[in-house]
Structure formats: C-alpha cells, structure tokens
C-alpha cells in the first residue's frame, strides 16, 4: 500500500458562475473542501455538474467568481492541473498500448516515479491484464483503467464525473475503497453522481439549486445584449 499522505490543503470557490453558449448554467455557487473531505454533486441532467467539475479543473473558464487553493486565488490554471486528477466521460485510453504502457505514460506525464502500474491495475481488478493491449478491454474495464490513473499518479484533489458508470458491483466496491483510502491520506474528492453512492460521509451540493430561473436567464441575456 502506498503511504504517501498529502499536505493539508483547502480548495474553495466563491460566487462562481458559468455561461455556456449564452446560457447561464449556474450562478452564485460556492463550495469549500478541506483535507479528507468529499462533496457529492447532485442535480438533474443539464444542471451543470460536469460543467462545474471542468470549471474546478480549470478546463472551462469561470464567468464570475473565483476559486482558491490553500486560500490563495488560483490564477495559473496550467499549474493548478498538478493539484488534481480529473476523470471525465471519456476514458483517454490508448487502444494500441497495453494496460501497463497506458498507466506508465500517465505516471511519467505527472512525474510520480513511485507509481507502480501493476499495483494500480490490481487495485481496480485489472492486475491479470497488465500486458494486454487496451483495445481488448470491455467498456467497464476501460473505465477501470481510466480510474487506475488516480492511483498511479497521486494528486490531492480528485474530480470524478459519474465514475460509477459501466462498473459492476465488485468494481464499485474497489472504487469506494480507493476513494476512502485517498481521503484517509488527506485527499479531497468531488464526485458527480446520480446513482449508487461510492462515498461515505460526503457533503452534498445540489448544483440544480444554483440554476437561475428561466425568467432571469432571459433578463441577463438581454441586459448583456443591450
């Protein structure tokens, strides 16, 4: 087992708004995470869970508000990338490479020499497949390979977008275990999920509650146009 623990850190956002395609997805959204914390994002489809996760990762731009790491406002989002691992809907798996080669690439990219591909794959039940080309994996196994990135290259903040998709019960347990382990070591987790929850004692953030009412959308839209 890896014993690396993360230095105490906080990650927070205040007054966040995001506009996509002229539509205000959410506004005045605030969150705060400390070491070992987990936040579960809830909300109907289209309420902005994925948008918020991409915003937290620095992939999407903030329309208003600010985010802070350890209380310092984040300005360099390129550097912020080193604090986090993001698991999106796309698995970012290269079919031509083996499971181990895929994982070794991520380990080298994020420069974490302690990462061990075999160990990471084993944690997600892919230990027997390390030398297989990833193109032979099933959808669920591919997704587990994507999740193994979290283990092979540790970072304090995990942003997980529906990580339970395509996973069987055993894999969900494995996911719950690596999340619990990550939090024990002082890591933070933000997870968007509808279905079965894989986090214990997590705070819930209802993203849908920050969606402006239809009328307001029209008003903001017009006020900006004028």
């Amino acid at each position: 087992m890896e014993t690396q623990t993360f230095a105490p850190a906080t990650f927070s956002g205040d007054g966040l708004a995001c506009r996509r395609g002229g539509r205000l997805v959410f506004t005045q959204l605030a969150f705060r995470l400390g070491s070992g914390d987990a936040v579960v994002l809830r909300g109907p489809n289209g309420s902005g869970k994925t948008t918020l996760l991409r915003l937290m990762a620095g992939l999407s731009r903030i329309s208003a508000g600010k985010m802070a790491w350890n209380g310092v406002e984040i300005e360099d989002f390129e550097a912020h990338g080193a604090n986090l691992r993001f698991i999106g809907h796309l698995d970012a798996v290269k079919p031509a490479l083996t499971v181990a080669e895929n994982l070794n690439f991520w380990r080298d990219l994020w420069g974490s020499p302690s990462g061990d591909a075999k160990q990471a794959a084993t944690k997600l039940g892919l230990g027997h497949l390390v030398d297989f080309p990833a193109r032979l994996l099933s959808a669920g196994q591919r997704h587990r390979l994507a999740l193994a990135r979290l283990v092979v290259a540790p970072a304090p903040l995990w942003l997980l977008d529906e990580p339970g998709n395509a996973l069987d019960d055993a894999s969900l347990n494995a996911l719950a275990a690596i999340i619990a382990d990550h939090r024990n070591r002082g890591g933070m987790v933000v997870i968007a999920s509808h279905g079965s929850t894989v986090v214990e004692r997590g705070a819930v953030l209802d993203v849908g509650a920050f969606t402006p009412a239809f009328k307001n959308v029209q008003e903001t839209h017009w006020s900006e146009a004028v």
Binding site: G58, L59, E78, G81, A82, F86, L90, D91, L109
Partner: protein, 221 residues
C-alpha cells in the same frame, strides 16, 4: 520537461505500433512523385527541370495528409483534457507532439526523397541541396501544421479546412525549398535560400507552439 519526454515517447510508441499511418504518408509521397514521369513523359531533361518542385509539392501534400490526425485522436478519446491538466505549460505538449510528427513523417520523407529524385533524373549536384532544404523546411511544415490542426479541432470536415488554412502558409517554404535545389543544379550559391528556410524554422519553433497551445485550450473548453 517530464511532460515533453513522456508525450514524445508515447507518440513514438503509438506511431511504431500503428505504423500504417506513417506508411500511408510515405506511400502517398512516392505515388505522387512517380505520377509525374507518367504524365509529363520520360524525357530526362524535362523531368530534371521540374524535379525540385515536384518533390517539394509532393512532400508538402504528403505531410498535410498526416496533420489531420495530429490532435484529433487525443481530442476525441479525452486524452487532450488530461494533457491540458499535466500541470506544465501546454506548449511542451505541443512541442512534443510536433517533434513526434516530424520524426514519424518529416524524417522518413527526407530519407525517401533521394530515391524518388532518381526517378525524376535529378542532376547529381541537386541532391545535397535537396536534403538540406528538406531538413530545414519540414520542421516548419510540422510546426505550422500543428497550429492549423489545433485550430480546426472539433470542426466537421477539418481536413479540408486544414488544407485551406495551412497550404498558403507553406508557399514560402515551397518557393525557397525549390529555389535551393534549382540553384544547386545551376551552380549558384544556395546559402541565402537555405538561410531563409532556417530562419523560418527558428521563427516557427518560437511562435507556433504558443499559437497551437492557445487553440488547443480553446478546443477543450
């Protein structure tokens, strides 16, 4: 720099594993060049006169063929998001991917060109200049192409759009590349044209990665 090394290593491994991609580029180059003797006729004088230009035009078109896929695969399978989150400036990722592109397409094109030059009866004096001009010019082709490939990311018919975007920018490379070969055949000093190609390469290596990185960030947003 771990980002540069990791991406370069992975792209080379992928190119090696999926060598069909690089092979297509080379095959296109060879076929395009070989079509000229068939179309123009086998008179060695005529062929020798156009050899430099034919080789350059075919090399540019062949390179263009592969640029389409430079970022598309990473964009579509989600890898690009992760590369943006590498924690290091995205410029290193662009440089690594462009370097890998040059090593897997530009370099093989250079190595193949003397053989194809033979089929066009290129006079012996032209070979040195051809290799030098291609060596200085193809890195610029990859670098400018990377900007174009990043800009058309996510658009339908990106390949066609890409040719409209980058082919005009390749004109100076084509002109000075061809002039170098012709100059060498005529016995004129080709220092000036080769220097210009070198200058373009230095200029491109400084500016193009930044432009491409900005376009990539736009695409992932």
């Amino acid at each position: 720099m771990s980002v540069f090394a990791a991406v370069l290593k992975r792209d080379l491994a992928l190119a090696l594993r999926q060598s069909a991609d690089s092979f297509t580029v080379l095959a296109f180059f060879a076929i395009a060049v070989v079509l000229f003797p068939l179309g123009v006729g086998p008179e060695s004088n005529t062929l020798a006169k156009i050899a430099g230009g034919v080789l350059w035009v075919s090399a540019l078109l062949a390179a263009l063929l592969s640029l389409d896929r430079l970022f598309t695969v990473d964009f579509e399978d989600g890898t690009l998001d992760q590369l943006v989150l590498s924690g290091e400036p995205l410029v290193f990722v662009v440089l690594a991917k462009t370097a890998a592109h040059w090593l897997t397409t530009g370099l093989p094109l250079i190595l193949l060109s003397p053989v194809l030059a033979l089929t066009l009866h290129l006079p012996g004096e032209g070979y040195g200049a051809l290799l030098a001009a291609l060596s200085l010019g193809t890195p610029t082709v990859s670098l400018i192409g990377a900007v174009g490939a990043a800009l058309v990311l996510g658009s339908r018919r990106g390949g066609v759009l890409l040719s409209f975007l980058v082919l005009p920018l390749y004109v100076p490379i084509l002109i000075f590349g061809t002039l170098s070969v012709e100059g060498a055949i005529l016995g004129v000093s080709v220092k000036a044209t080769l220097s210009l190609l070198g200058a373009m390469a230095s200029f491109a290596v400084i500016l193009a990665p930044w432009a491409a990185a900005a376009a990539l960030r736009q695409a992932t947003e």
